[in-house]
Subunit: 135 residues, 6 copies
């Protein structure tokens, strides 16, 4: 079994706040990440699939096709968007990197063809913070 | 003469839109960057100063002190903020990387001690786009 | 148990084409990667071994020695070569990153000393595409 | 005046050899870079333009438009190609990074609109070797 | 289950030598790393924890808090220090990257709160050499 | 005229302290960098030369030869050394990045062949701090 990973990028705004809490409580827990007027990041998204290379192509899966599928089902919903306001699959969720990685996994798992076996979603929020989810 | 550079980071939300234009005109010019609900970036800021090392220290200027000054006069105003709404020195300006680099230069030039001669502000918006300003 | 990884580099030419297929079929499947006159990459190769550090040295294995072994059994066969034409252990194989990673694993597994337990071969074709193989 | 830089990538095969020289002389001068069957690289191309930001947009020039122009006039001729065999503007030239950077400058200078003032072409052959050309 | 990773840095001096061995034996085994007067590195430390995000915050654990704990229990003991002479938890140990990664794991495992489940310590000595330890 | 740059690495120990000052004064000025028992860094050294490519080779200068010259005259004196104690050309100098960059320039300028015109020495102490010297 071989693991193939593709890196994609998106830029988005978000904030961290719990609507059930007061402004003070949100600021106490989330600090500057709770800024009313949002902040944002350049996210790096690594998607890893696994399986056996096909004898005719040497490919586990065509990586350009994988890139297109990630674009259609994930990047187009996230890039140059507000994660709290603009993204159907983040609706009603806390916009942490953890929850975003899980939501991206769920979108990919639901829409990738059966021939693609998802292994890992790895999401960098900054160069110093990343989350991995294996389903 | 020696050139000394310090890298700092900040994360911010912004959008590109000209308030004198219609929504359609903004979208035609700025595309996804005009998204109503903002998007954001991890900005990398390189500040370069120049001069001669001091014989007692070997330092052009104490780089930790330089880092503090950049933090006080620039990063604290930009990090985890909305560039269009929260930043006094961007008020009324288009929030392009070009204008932001110029504004950062102006803030630093106005507030750095006389012993620090500013040479360049280099600002990455993404890993593939950066602006340099030399005053 | 500890895992120790060493990064090596090589630059090579290759193309993706299946000799059983017509030119049109190859272009339909492999696109620009089927270019008759080849293209090429700077490959990054991460080799991970595992085991327990030796009490006398603190080393799982001497990393400079590991580097030499990777050079002798892998890099010298691949660096500044044509993967389709010049490499005995790729002979008759599709030159995908998947197959190259597997072939590198097989070469290392066959030639590394018994004291080195191979864990992973990770191969970057570009900064956005990599393959991992664990045997 | 502000300087704006855009990074683009291309992957290509090439070899270094002087057709006026013997095989032995080529190998003596160019070593493994003279390999008959080619080798290749992931090239990183930084294109820097200069000028004043426009008051309506804050843009020196639309960076997405710059990216398209680099693609049309440079990347499409180089990406997944053989630099010695496939590239009209390298015809009859030694395929060194130096000559390639100069040729890219000449292509861009000839085809970019008058509103774009080219400042620098910076070309990485590997992470450890790059060339800059300022015209 | 989600995995969250935080990157921290420290700069330190060390040397590799076994006090039971002669100077010649140390040089034979450790080469330039046995230099009497030390050498040093910029170490990159990745700490990975695992668990489930909390529904109120979307956080597995507050990453700023994780950063503080790594600082208090690890970085403050290592940064701008001599690993052989200044670090209580390396006392009497060979200062290899392998042993340092294990020692960092032990410090973190002993001092992190029960709510944080440590998964991996990954330590880069240079950009080409790193060690992982999973306990 | 073309500019050609080569990146080399070295790892070294050093400390910042002025022997004319008391221990307290050194700690007040240099902080943790004055640690008695040294600390260290992975230094990245970029050497830039300038000139015209030769028509027979397309080379400004053979980059492998440049690498060897940097190794012989600079890296071999610095790598796995103590900058304060082991390096003849740093003798009696404050071991700041500024002074080290100037000293490297002086060594290269004195020993490179006449055909190589030195343009810039750029020295990274960490990923966030670098110095440039142009002679």
């Amino acid at each position: 079994m071989v693991y193939l990973t593709r890196l994609e990028h998106f830029n988005a705004a978000h904030k961290l706040y719990n609507p059930k809490w007061s402004k003070e409580q949100n600021e106490a827990v989330f600090g500057v990440c709770a800024n009313d007027n949002w902040h944002g990041h350049n996210y790096d998204l690594y998607v890893t699939i696994k399986g056996d290379p096909h004898p005719d192509t040497g490919f586990l899966f065509d990586v350009k096709e994988l890139s297109k599928l990630i674009k259609i089902y994930v990047i187009d919903y996230l890039d140059h968007k507000n994660l709290n306001l603009d993204v159907p699959f983040m609706d009603g969720k806390m916009c942490s990197t953890e929850n975003l990685a899980i939501a991206i996994w769920n979108e990919l798992a639901a829409h990738l063809p059966d021939s693609v076996k998802l292994h890992c979603v790895k999401l960098y929020e900054t160069q110093r913070i990343y989350v991995e989810y294996f389903g």
